[in-house]
């Protein structure tokens, strides 16, 4: 089957209006934000997909996947296009993108049972807006909230800024529907809890489009008490102090919705109005009044316990104001894209990792030292720092943040700068026993370390791939490493 025949077959399966072969749209579909600079400069060196298709329902997705499976056509599932690790990048000559554009219905909001059911293409912001009308919230607020869609949120094991209270997306999903490459549709029912064998929701959640296409999800919803919100902000001596205070609050059993510590450098770019070249620690307590009061008291006690590292408290209004402007909208993304066309610069990159309380400060310090001493272009760095923004009973994450002067051709920027820094972060994290991927997924640009990330348990992932996607048509190169493609599309071999 040649390319034209494939496109015609897609039109026959769906309709002409549901098959997009516009050159500009296909170029846009060739890569995600990992290669944002090369993409903006129109120097991407990856194949373009043959078409983007927009199915109207689960049955059409089933037919599409059967067709692709039979004809060995690579499939990239797509939602809000905010992927950052290459999950949406195309590494196959014969590929189609299945976009959840028309799966945009909020099927049911059920406040009595505290759950809502949505199709994969529903934007998180749209559901949040509907829930606010009835005094509820999704509790999920990634920075991409105005743009991200539920299919992508589930597929990448997304996390939001209030995760310390509400959890990651995996804690919110009650049940879901997904379609496998052979066309089989699985519905995982919505119950409060069960012991019916392994929790199969987690085969779909986090699969990054490499096993199945998620079409629908039922998620928990929460009562929203914005009038009770309390904010706390502090200038602190160092990152270690901040981590100690975060730990103290968490291990004492409290769940502030936000609990964050910023390095001096990262604080300077977030809190220009008060950072004073110091690290910043901040909290937000949220929920019923009594819980907020108790959480606030626990925060103040933890701060008091480590007062030697606290420089001063800042006006809580400053923290509140900052939160109101934290998310990036489609306009922010578009503005950065335009900026990259006009200037030899971008807004920087991040790499997020996680580890236990004891290990995270060691990873942070080791990484900063190694990037400064081992990264060949360290002299071009304009910013290097990080923050912890998602805490758990036994540990936390670290979000490394960096930017640099770009002194290379746009097509080389990813490899010379971003990937080189990410490699140092990932390898040091794995060496120290942490996880290289806290919430952005593995995508294609961390799959060279997938086996190291999972160790002997990678066997389980490989078996899932063999069983659910035996012909390997689902998002080639994502999560599961493909040596030749890594050489070709990452290392220009």
């Amino acid at each position: 089957m040649n390319k034209d025949q494939i496109v015609q077959s897609l039109i026959d399966l769906l309709s002409k209006d549901q098959v997009n072969t516009n050159h500009e749209a296909l170029y846009d579909a060739s890569a995600d934000r990992y290669k944002k600079y090369a993409k903006a400069r129109k120097v991407l060196k990856v194949p373009m997909p043959l078409a983007i298709v927009y199915p109207n329902d689960t049955q059409e997705i089933s037919e599409l996947l059967k067709f692709c499976n039979k004809n060995l056509i690579n499939v990239i599932p797509r939602g809000g296009k905010t992927a950052t690790e290459g999950g949406l990048e195309n590494w196959k000559d014969i590929t189609i993108v299945i976009d959840a554009l028309h799966l945009d219905k909020i099927i049911k909001i059920d406040p009595y049972n505290s759950q809502a059911t949505v199709q994969a293409g529903v934007a998180l912001q749209d559901l949040e807006d509907e829930l606010r009308k009835i005094g509820c919230t999704t509790g999920h607020s990634p920075q991409s909230k105005p743009v991200a869609k539920y299919g992508g949120l589930l597929a990448t094991r997304s996390i939001g800024q209030f995760s310390t209270l509400y959890g990651g997306i995996e804690d919110m999903v009650v049940g879901l529907e997904c379609v496998f490459p052979d066309g089989h549709i699985s519905r995982i029912k919505n119950v409060s809890r069960r012991s019916g064998g392994p929790d199969i929701r987690h085969i779909a959640i986090g699969n990054e489009g490499s096993l199945c296409y998620i079409t629908e999800a039922t998620i928990k919803i929460f009562k929203f008490y914005p009038e009770n919100n309390k904010f706390y902000g502090y200038l602190i001596k160092d990152v270690e102090t901040g981590i100690k205070v975060l730990r103290e609050v968490m291990v004492n059993g409290f769940r502030p919705s936000v609990a964050r510590t910023y390095s001096e450098q990262d604080a300077a770019q977030h809190f220009y109005h008060f950072h004073d070249n110091k690290c910043v620690l901040l909290f937000m307590a949220e929920g019923p009044k009594g819980i907020v009061e108790a959480t606030g008291q626990a925060i103040e006690e933890a701060v008091e316990k480590f007062k030697d590292g606290i420089i001063k408290q800042v006006d809580s209004q400053l923290i509140s104001d900052w939160f109101d402007n934290l998310n990036w909208s489609q306009k922010d993304i578009d503005d950065e894209y335009e900026g990259m066309i006009e200037n030899d610069s971008h807004a920087g990159y991040t790499t997020e990792i996680s580890a236990d309380w004891e290990t995270i400060p060691k990873i942070y310090n080791n990484v900063i030292k190694k990037v400064k001493s081992e990264f060949p272009r360290a002299h071009d760095l304009t910013m290097l720092g990080g923050h912890s923004s998602h805490s758990y009973l036994n540990g936390t994450n670290m979000y490394f943040v960096y930017n640099y002067k770009i002194n290379c051709a746009p097509e080389d920027e990813m490899l010379i700068y971003h990937h080189a820094i990410q490699k140092i972060i990932v390898e040091e994290t794995l060496r120290m026993g942490g996880s290289m991927c806290h919430h952005h997924g593995i995508g294609k640009f961390r799959n060279e370390w997938s086996k190291q990330e999972h160790g002997s348990a990678f066997y389980m992932l490989e078996k899932l791939k063999e069983v659910f996607d035996p012909k390997g048509i689902m998002n080639y190169g994502t999560i599961f490493p493909q040596e030749d493609a890594i050489k070709k599309y990452i290392y220009k071999g």
């Binding site: 220009y272 002299h379 290379c408 080389d412 010379i416």
Partner: protein, 264 residues
Amino acid sequence: MKIVCMVKIVPDVDKFEYDFESNTVVRDNVRMILNPDDASGVGFALKVKSMKPDTIVEVVTMAPESVEPLLLDLARVGVDRVTYISDPIFSGSDSYATSKILAKYLETTSYDCILTGTHAIDGDTSHVPAQLGELLDLCQMSNVIKIDEDALDESKVVFTVDNDTSVSTYEMKLPGILSIQKESNYKLPYIKYEDINKDVNDQINIISNDDLAFEKGKVGLEGSLTKVNRTFVKEYKKRNKVVVGNDEQGIETVYSFLKDKGFV
């Protein structure tokens, strides 16, 4: 056609930090870079080479061996030959002695056009280009912001000069010397990722005093008649930061500031 680009490796003075307490320049960890005006010269030469592939581009510099990695990178972006003149006897040469050394080398090689920068960001005396013209008996023009690459051949060059009060276009017989400004926006190409470690040693030409045969005392510190009368560190005033809110008052403050400075 052969173009020779004279370049200087200089400290990246933009990276100097100023210590307001001790009133000193902090030079720690400051890297060496190719002088920006000179980089524009090489950028133009490589542009010509990309349009006319039989063009030969040679870069010439006088520098200690420690800057060799920067020179190797010039070969990696397409310069055919990199000549660096280095000998302990040359150390401490003032601009005139430097010009004598460079001119003596240039007498041994062929060229149709010599390109230099107009200014160097470290010393900024702008002596060398004019002194080379004098020593080699060539015409020389500074402040070049544009060269007509289509009109360029072995016999003549047409170029534009910005001397702050006017912009003029000239034609010059070649061989001759043109001194370019970075405002020309001729950019040095980046090294391709694949060429970052490319072996270019066969393109490196090292010249010492064994080749140039200067008598002791004619160059270097001993042969330099320029005497420095006084050096001083430029003083900077620390500016106060003003933080304004995203409100009417903040907008008014920013608008008044811009108006005061003549931007609006």
